[in-house]
Symmetry: C2
Subunit: 262 residues, 2 copies
């Protein structure tokens, strides 16, 4: 049975750990600096909670570094001597695998491309798992492990993963900000945000299997400069912090839009 | 039984007509300039297709103008004399009810706030229906009719609806453009868009019942200027059309971000 040590007990560790365990892997230990989160997760995973990196055992098949980007290097450095022969992966879309290279020959990445919130269940079988390892045998192993927990496993190298991260910022962080700008606009008139949530779900649903460009609607896309200007006037009138970005996004959708202004 | 005349046979007429019919209303006629779309929809609704405004009957309880924004005024003008006593509503989020006022005393709006694609079924019972009528009795009638087809009916006046439209541009059109920018970025590396679609669905799902501001993640939100700069360098290097808007959106999420640059 594959024996895994989980390093970290945050959002990602919570979700990934539970999924690995549910799919039959043996989680030997959960490490976290503070005991309480480690223990809370370890209990669910039938694992042992440890708070000292010295206590981490040497004989696991896979060490999963599910810590924040900022902590990866430091934890890797401290585990280097002990686990120099072992396969160790981080779970970050933003950090190159090369960050682990100075410390571990058998390094890699096991990156579930999803946004996780502790306590909110997600459908793991549809989450893309992006795997990479420096050694082919390890990458095969990561791919097999990925297939245990998801139907979608991709081999993604460092260069590809860094681009994927840029794309995810657009598709996740920036779209969420657009939702926020809609929310803020409604607040100005005391209108409830639930007016927009079905529209938002459908906007997200419509792009499955399609190019979003095909799905683009709205005043900017249809060259309706009058509506764009009316919206801008309104946003400026109420001194919305989002007037300028409304204009920029409209221009980004339709670069010729403002040129039509005479 | 409530008798409805449906004017228009486009996306919205297709969805709204079918829902009204399925919920027990009698659709007497479907008007469209060209016969074929009118007929295709009329058959489904057990209605009569007409292509001449002269043929529209006078005795319906409700006339639903489901035509493009640009056509509302012209169609209203041409129906004015004939239907001057009747309740006529348009279905647009972008046009004030006042557009109908010169022609009909009993005018109003029946606006389902959703993005519709012909042939793609939507869950109508969750779609917010925004109603307004110049006369209280008519507004009561529109609210009752709305409740037949959806659980969510709101009385929304012209001012509120115009703000709702601005908010919907942010939440729908601009978020779709963010999906497109993610798509485009992946294309540069021949990475499949399906890598991002689960993330997009979850991003949309997470804001139900929450403020999107609480859900905001990513390099800009966490003040991670290094990552933002690395992404900008990459986008500039590949001459992405979206480098500038990446910077603007990051600043919009975190106005102090670039100030940290020293």
């Amino acid at each position: 049975m594959t024996k895994v040590v989980l390093i970290g007990a945050g959002n990602l560790a919570w979700h990934l750990g539970r999924r690995l365990y549910a799919c039959g892997l043996h989680i030997a230990q959960v490490y976290n600096r503070s005991l309480s989160p480690a223990q809370a997760l370890a209990v669910d995973l039938n694992a042992r909670a440890v708070t000292n990196l010295e206590e981490i055992e040497k004989a696991a098949h896979l060490y999963v570094l599910a810590v924040s980007d900022g902590a990866i290097l430091e934890v890797a450095r401290r585990l280097a001597t002990k686990l120099s022969e072992r396969l160790i992966v981080h779970t970050s879309g933003a950090t190159p695998s090369a960050a682990l290279k100075p410390y571990f020959q058998r390094h890699g990445v096991f990156y579930p491309l999803q946004t996780f919130t502790k306590g909110c269940e997600v459908n793991f079988s549809e989450i893309p798992i992006c795997v990479y390892a420096a050694q082919k045998k390890d990458e095969d192993f990561l791919e097999q492990s990925g297939r245990l927990i998801s139907e979608k496993v991709y081999r993604i190298n460092d260069q590809e993963r860094s681009i994927l991260h840029v794309a995810a910022v657009f598709a996740n962080n920036f779209s969420n900000h657009c939702f926020q700008m809609g929310y803020h606009t409604l607040q100005q008139e005391n209108l409830p945000f639930e007016l927009l949530t079905p529209l938002i779900q459908e906007t997200a649903r419509k792009i499955i299997g399609r190019s979003p460009l095909q799905m683009q609607t709205g005043p900017a896309a249809r060259n309706d400069l009058n509506t764009v200007k009316r919206h801008l006037d309104y946003l400026e009138k109420i001194q919305s912090p989002y007037a300028e970005i409304y204009r920029r996004l409209s221009e980004s959708i339709n670069p010729l839009l403002m040129n039509n202004e005479e």
